[in-house]
Symmetry: C2
Subunit: 567 residues, 2 copies
């Protein structure tokens, strides 16, 4: 495409703050437009990158013999039951039509598709099959971050339907191979990690995390095996050491005597953090639940949710706490709680000898607190985040942390939904069985953002050929030089003939601006028609290394073929 | 693709009513799924047809050097001004996010794109350029009709930006060539017709109507020239004959004396329809407007809106009419109206001699009514629909009607919007000028429905190769016959190697069911591996004609190449 006819508007000035923010880079290099940091448009360059990703995805979906479909985005709220509505909760965009029918913008098509499959599938002969779509989804996200996370985003969603467990499991392996192939083809370092099922019911789930220091996800991985798990759900397998304890007399004291404020008390008091008992109070169906964990640990609410078997947690009302415990939440401790209040403690609490806790009375605390002697615990559970250096849950080596961006999430659902929805088939013996299912999400626009973060240097983007909006940037210095101009046009046509995707900078602008634009846009290779045009010689520049060499026009195609063969 | 792995579920039973309804056919042949006749899913076959259309569109857009973009569907209501909101009126889907920001689902991207262009374009050097997208749009339609018209639909929208009128006009011709090429490549008979600008401001607009007896649009076209216009806006150029009139005395009568009811009065009274004066009363900014037209004519509200320069018409409140005229709307006539009420009459009223009208009094009417003598007219205008047999507005021949489906609508907007939005550029002399614009819509999912209507017979679809989801339907009768099965698999692989898109019916089903499915699905050619498989002979069937011939397996590729060369 001739750049004079392309809608590519760049801004070379790099802001001094956050120089590497990929959203900002994409805007300045003319890939996307952002209105109020909220509404993202893909401009021609950005659209081409996304189409490259889509093409790779479709090729890999063909490997799975997956069928592409396109399900409606606007659906009737009636097709969601109350559980499903609750699972999406505040992220669901709801609206009405003029007849006041309740509609919603679909954040996932599992429910809609199940209705169709339930209607169409009756026999094992019609199974298995795999459907997918590459489609815009909508979620009312709170924390918007450009192409990384937005209310409108492009995803690949794959749905598989099976007649046997083996067949589902085989497919769960196959989708891993295909997703891995996508990351490999894009050159992105990734890790498949065990993950939480989140709001889904089912058997197993994994996330695909592209490793990056700026990532929002923490991975806990073994230093001696392939084991990797989302930090949020990494099990703590470290056995709690129960020390020999010479229990001292329990004493109640006043914080005002210690010289620190109540807010700073637990962090400033002169006692090791692993002897501090921290207390959170949650409210569940009107009941209060007291959760205990050690001062050197971080409470993991994902684990707590799973232990309590709830979708969301609610901290206790201050009013209710005050009525039942006679103090504000801040001063709640485990001693002398009302009898009907359930106490759940992290395993780490077992190790506490002569610890410290708040006193269930405004401004008071206890010293020499000993669990079991001084208070009862209804249930011990694994409620905290794992720490670096602790044993890996798989038994091999110790845990190390890494950061990354979650790009894909796959779920082995099994029969969880089909039983709920009565989606069944008759097997070879004529016995009715639930259709086994899996669902596999992949963030397409998110992948674009992640790749944009990875593939850049101080001058702009350095796209791999698999993602670059064009293969070759043909840049002419000879807009006003007849011989050079003719050569430029000739090369443009030859490159097109040889099926290269070419961006031809034919604009009447200073060569400095053109170079800056070319480096900012970041196509793999630049071909410059300049001073030696009349000798039929051009300059070829490798954007990655900046290395350049001169090349006779007759050799250009061979040199480029060679370039892309090893690129 | 192997049919056993494809999600294609057909229903051979054809309903006795509306046997040719394309939505029903698409559902029964497994192309689409419809939930409550409202929410349409594209199943694998339907998705493939739509992708064929998209591919053709993208190829034609490349001819225009148009840049593909992808603008957000969810936008802030703040980006629409009150005029724009009014123009979309009840068709606009509005919603809120959890922060109560007002959002809408974009029915057109003209406003959003103009914001971007205004920000990015400053100089004539950056013009012209063309942007397009193939995207799902949302409109709160009242009359839903499957793939033809729905609340969620796929469109191509093209936007062009120019620095001179000549350049805009040249492009308006080019887009016509490209749209025409799309219809030609799909084999659809179409007509480009002059159309109303609708809610748009601008200079000129044309619709592309695919001719069909079942179409919702009426075209008025000349029998002697290329002239064609949407019936809604066809100008009446017939000169009204003003007869020599021996005016008789105006007499007021009672309907109760005529023996017909008031509702039937104007149709049953014994007087030629061209002597009846019909009266409508509209309300505009609190004022009442009386509109007169002849009994043999149909009032055209599109023309009336244009004459009154309003976006929508409102019939007068019964209460207001009764207060001002002293009777119900039914009995309003042109005689003895309150002086401040404006009267607009269609030109046809001029010809009335001793006509008849209602009496502005409950149950009364006048005979021997003569315009100008008996009542004043503020303005004459062309307010009625043209009739077949009347002169063509271009001066050549007479008007004939045809029916069709509107599939595309193009608008030469000129400076109308850029002046409103201050989107300007500096020309070569440094003078600020408004950017000239055009917008060009094309209904992609609608085109699918229109093609589905056209390409079928009593057995199912007969797709042209440009639209068929696959090229070849390979059908094996030999699922349990080893030699035949091997031949089937071998041919499947050979066909794929030769780049044919093949649907391979490998299912364990009766051959009758397979034939019925194949005819219903309607791929251009069927290759049947049957009784002569062991001799290496297959049967090739042309779906269009039903003609079949035997063919040795070695000759198959040549025969198919020949088939598609002339298909």
């Amino acid at each position: 495409m001739k750049q004079s006819l392309a809608f590519i508007r760049t801004n070379h000035e790099m802001p001094s703050i956050k120089p590497l923010d990929p959203n900002e880079r994409l805007i300045r290099a003319g890939y996307i437009h952002s209105q109020n940091d909220k509404f993202i448009s893909l401009l021609p360059l950005g659209k081409r990158v996304l189409q490259k990703i889509e093409k790779i995805i479709r090729e890999e979906m063909n490997v799975l013999t997956a069928n592409e479909v396109s399900l409606p985005t606007l659906n009737s709220l009636q097709s969601l039951d109350s559980n499903e509505r609750q699972a999406y909760s505040a992220e669901l965009f709801q609206l009405n039509n003029r007849n006041k029918d309740e509609l919603y913008l679909t954040p996932s098509h599992l429910e809609i598709l199940s209705l169709i499959v339930k209607e169409k599938i009756t026999s094992y002969k019609q199974l298995p099959f795999v459907l997918y779509q590459i489609q815009t989804k909508y979620r009312d996200e709170l924390n918007i971050n450009g192409m990384f996370k937005n209310r409108e985003f492009l995803t690949l969603d794959v749905y598989s339907f099976h007649h046997t467990t083996e067949n589902l499991e085989e497919f769960y392996e196959k989708i891993d191979q295909v997703y891995s192939a996508i990351f490999r083809r894009l050159g992105l370092p990734y890790k498949k990690v065990l993950a939480d099922l989140g709001s889904y019911c089912g058997e197993l789930s994994h996330e695909y995390v592209v490793l990056s220091e700026n990532g929002e996800v923490t991975i806990a991985q073994s230093n001696q095996s392939d084991f990797a798990v989302n930090f949020d759900v990494a099990k703590v397998t470290l056995q709690t050491t129960i020390p020999h304890c010479e229990m001292k007399e329990l004493i109640k004291e006043k914080i005002s005597d210690t010289g620190v404020s109540a807010d700073d008390f637990q962090t400033h008091i002169d006692i090791p953090a692993d002897r501090i008992i921290k207390t959170n109070v949650y409210q569940l169906n009107g009941e209060l639940i007291v959760v205990l964990y050690r001062g050197d640990h971080i409470l993991n609410e994902v684990k707590l949710k799973n232990v309590l078997n709830v979708q969301s947690l609610k901290l206790a009302d201050e009013k209710l706490v005050s009525e039942l415990f006679g103090c504000t939440t801040k001063y709640v401790g485990p001693i002398k709680l009302p009898v009907h209040v359930k106490v759940i403690a992290d395993f780490g609490i077992k190790s506490i000898c002569n610890g410290i806790s708040f006193g269930n009375e405004e401004g008071s605390y206890y010293v020499n607190v000993n669990p079991e002697r001084d208070f009862a615990i209804n249930e011990y559970a694994d409620l905290r985040y794992i720490q670096e250096g602790e044993p890996s849950p798989d038994g091999n080596g110790i845990i190390q942390f890494a950061k990354g961006h979650e790009v894909a999430h796959i779920f082995k659902l099994g029969a969880a939904y089909s039983e709920q929805w009565n989606a069944s088939f008759l097997d070879e013996q004529g016995v009715s069985k639930p259709i086994l299912m899996g669902t596999y999400g992949f963030g397409v626009s998110r992948l674009f953002a992640v790749a944009a973060e990875m593939y850049q240097d101080e001058k702009g983007f350095i796209w791999p050929n698999s993602l670059a909006p064009f293969d070759v940037h043909l840049i002419t210095e000879c807009v006003d030089h007849e011989e050079g101009w003719l050569l430029s046009e000739q090369l443009y046509n030859i490159l097109l003939t040889y099926q290269f995707e070419v961006l031809f900078d034919d604009r009447q602008l200073s060569i400095d601006v053109k170079y800056k634009d070319a480096n900012l846009i970041g196509l793999p290779v630049q071909v410059i028609v300049g001073k030696k045009a009349s000798e039929g010689i051009v300059t070829v520049v490798d954007r990655r290394t900046g290395q350049s060499y001169e090349c006779a026009k007759e050799e250009l195609i061979d040199r480029l073929n060679e370039f892309f063969r090893v690129y």
